[in-house]
Symmetry: C2
Subunit: 157 residues, 2 copies
């Protein structure tokens, strides 16, 4: 069964967004979360997805590539976007319509990264919003993944 404590080591940040059932989300509202993946989680993702590209799990193979170390699957990184939008910002009731993810730099296991979300535009008639979805490394704030999502939410947009 599902272990709801699985991600208790993830630290959440509330930025200028306060969850409030009465208020709609507006352009400029944002949300941040830190995340990391272990090699074990990446290996589990290999099994679930069928993506056994050795770049993700074989240290010796990865060492022979320009990446030097195993890198996290792009689709696993993108799962952070899906998780936040489905559970946190905007949260329950979101319908995920579109995701654009540009993988600008490789993400490595065990490193901690920051994902940032910001409402870029809303369409109240359609209850949809465009939300920027970005991943940064912590030390110098370099952008690792740039992107944009579209979501629908009957009450919040």
């Amino acid at each position: 069964m599902i272990n709801l404590n699985f991600h208790k080591n993830r630290i959440k940040f509330w930025f200028n967004f306060t969850k409030n059932d009465q208020s709609m989300l507006e352009v400029g509202n944002s949300y941040e979360i830190e995340f990391s993946f272990t090699q074990e989680q990446v290996n589990d993702f290999c099994k679930i997805s069928g993506d056994f590209n050795p770049l993700h799990w074989d240290e010796a193979y990865a060492a022979s590539t320009p990446f030097k170390k195993p890198i996290i699957h792009g689709a696993l990184i993108a799962s952070v976007f899906s998780k936040v939008m489905g559970m946190e910002f905007p949260g329950e009731g979101s319908v995920y319509l579109k995701q654009v993810s540009e993988f600008k730099r490789p993400l490595f296991v065990e490193n901690t990264y920051k994902a940032r979300f910001e409402i870029i535009s809303t369409n109240p008639a359609k209850h949809t919003a465009e939300i920027s979805t970005q991943v940064f490394e912590l030390e110098r704030g370099k952008i690792m993944v740039d992107g944009m999502a579209s979501a629908m939410h009957a009450d919040l947009f």
Copy 2:
């Protein structure tokens, strides 16, 4: 450890693409694969991603939504794109640069779907290509996910 037999029930189709170390991939080359996900795989993905949106695992909750049944995470569907590009088409040596995924209709567990990839354009100077990434339901060929990927491959593009 990783079980390489995990996806032995997946059926692969080779379309007008023949793997050949000598030949570059060209516009119009395409690749198709059928896939499905079980509820257990979706539950495992909840754990790895931290995305416990009940829409994906709680049948009673899903029954109360317009979807009626648990739906597969978009990021898990997108893992099929990553898997094919990293392992099969173009395959080993691919660097995944970008993914656009438009979730047009929900995908349900246990159903079999077809993913289709086609080289839309190539840039031999940069060794990159744009590849359409689409998911169809089998019965009537309805499009479920529409999308486009960019990848780099030193030998094949």
